[in-house]
Subunit: 353 residues, 2 copies
């Protein structure tokens, strides 16, 4: 059964790893760098087969490469962020887009946000059920709407008018996620993007994982961008909106400081305004990116028992990827071209060229 799942993963991943087709502008000269995440959580090696680990890494690599190619060719940070996130949204392994978890009522309700650090323009959608790539809908809101955050059917109506690709509910159905919902309903609790039960009587046999995908990038023009996309929490109810689509909580970008995308238990990130707080420390205390991230994620977030992490990049291309959980699926290509793709905590979490 597990072997079958692993094989299925390889096939799915191969279909995710499509080449980026963006038309990137003429190459320019400045530094560029990119980082991505594919969720954080109680991830331990023994809970994933080598094939499964390889499958996750392959998609992370594919997303990272797509963004990097755009940046290398002189494309914008916004283009890189959208492209990288779309690849993860299209892959059923991640809790965003196609692989989104189910709400209590059996829907896939997705949230996404994108922000351009060059002008503080931003766009977001919340609770959309039929948009193939919520990150593209968020970008469309940013570029074509006078508003920033659109929700539910209204957001879908806007996206449809703008020619954003709509997908039928069946596109988002994955048996794995459906089974997770049934388990969560049975346990009568809101689960994160987990892959196993967490009750005392039925201990974790796999992992608890906070889904969400995200990307931050610096382009050759010195522009920063951030984006985040998620399916939220398995068995979530009452139209819950998490931190991902909330500017300043799960997503923020400002050329004068940094770009940040978060993943984890959203409520903790909202309470602390994590993304904006990291930017504020850099702005007002002139601290380094790593120091700001350590202070907010490893300090404040941990102190309120917040679970999750973030990826962040500053306007010099420095990257930080701190998290309070035992793992965070993440990758980056730094300003010197060094690539890292990492899943667990014992691996390095920062890249400072």
């Amino acid at each position: 059964m597990r072997l079958l799942f692993s094989l299925l993963l390889i096939v799915l991943v191969a279909s995710c790893s499509t080449k980026n087709t963006n038309n990137a502008p003429t190459p320019m000269t400045g530094k560029y760098a990119i980082a991505i995440h594919g969720g954080a959580g109680n991830l331990v090696k023994m809970n994933l087969t080598p094939q499964e680990q390889e499958a996750y890494k392959l998609v992370l690599d594919s997303a990272l490469t797509a963004g990097d190619e755009i940046l290398r060719a002189g494309g914008s940070a916004i283009d890189a962020v959208e492209s990288a996130i779309k690849i993860m949204e299209d892959c059923p392994l991640f809790n965003a887009g196609r692989g989104s978890v189910f709400t209590h009522e059996g829907y896939n309700e997705m949230d996404a946000a994108i922000m351009d650090g060059s002008n503080l323009e931003c766009g977001a959608v919340a609770g959309v059920r039929h948009i193939k790539n919520p990150i593209s809908a968020a970008r469309s809101v940013m570029e074509k709407s006078e508003f920033i955050l659109l929700k539910s059917e209204g957001a879908e109506a806007f996206a449809t008018e703008q020619g954003i690709e709509i997908a039928d509910s069946s596109y988002f159905f994955t048996q794995h996620r459906w089974d997770q919902l049934q388990e969560a309903i049975e346990d009568d609790k809101t689960e994160l993007d987990h892959s196993g039960k967490k009750s005392a009587s039925k201990p974790d046999h796999r992992e608890e994982k906070y889904g969400t995908v995200g990307c931050v990038a610096l382009d050759k023009n010195g522009n920063l961008a951030a984006g985040t996309s998620t399916g939220g929490l398995t068995n979530k109810r009452y139209g819950r909106i998490g931190d991902s689509p909330l500017i300043g909580s799960g997503t923020y970008a400002d050329n004068s400081t940094c770009a940040v995308s978060c993943t984890g238990k959203g409520e903790d990130f909202i309470r602390l305004n994590v993304a904006h707080d990291i930017a504020s420390m850099i702005r007002y205390q002139n601290t380094t990116l790593q120091s700001a991230c350590d202070s907010v994620i490893m300090g404040k977030l941990k102190s309120i028992k917040g679970r999750g992490g973030c990826i962040a990049i500053d306007n010099q291309g420095k990257i930080a990827m701190p998290f309070t959980t035992s793992g965070m699926f993440r990758g980056c290509i730094d300003a010197e071209g060094k690539k890292q793709i990492l899943l667990y905590a014992e691996e390095p979490t920062s890249v400072n060229p």
Copy 2:
């Protein structure tokens, strides 16, 4: 016609000015103070009759007094904030609760948030159509839900389960707001809480007003709280959510810094994370409340042509009420018991005991 409207106002206001019935706990010893707002905008004296100005001031006074009584008796900042806001929500003069403006489709879609500075707990609702007091629903989310932000029918279902008072659509119908929607649709643009047309051919004959009501308070225990409630924009579409229910954008409270509630063109406040930015300046630069508010509202917000303002209070009871528009309906009772109720820009905007 205008006289009739003025008389109607007096009757409505009289019905709004009900006495607070909260059971406040035993009196204690520390400083306490409170500030409220009832929206900002292009408000000029000549556009309101003396009776209309008096009507607004009467409700502001009533809301302020309700909150102040709770604080004086040793009640919590959260109780004071909720009580003051409920009085403004119940009054059809303000764009929140009963007096909410209409969306493009002819609905009243309300947003609200509340935050407790003592523990960073917060709750919010977005796009609710049938909740009499959205601020109470937000408080219920804060206290009874594992989530922070609930939307649409889901938020209403949660509120109903918690015994929050539901109201039929007819409760929120006011002819004045309906007429505003028809005018906005005719002009084919999204209007703020305006009272007249703004096209070149039909110049403003009354005022443009950014609705929203809010309250910030410091109680005798040194706890801060903030709350904001709004009907959003006349003729808004696509399920637009503004800054009011977004923690860090329109609403924030943290005992270690300040409590803030904003009003104005929400998108500008989201982009800058106005409420959290003011708190961050105090935290990281050790600046005064007034200086932080001036920097964020009169500096950054103004520089991006942002329109609106905020009320803010720090943990010493200092109050600031800056705004970039020609008016902001506001009031406060400072730590020395001095009361101010103001409508326009030429009046004092800060109270520092």
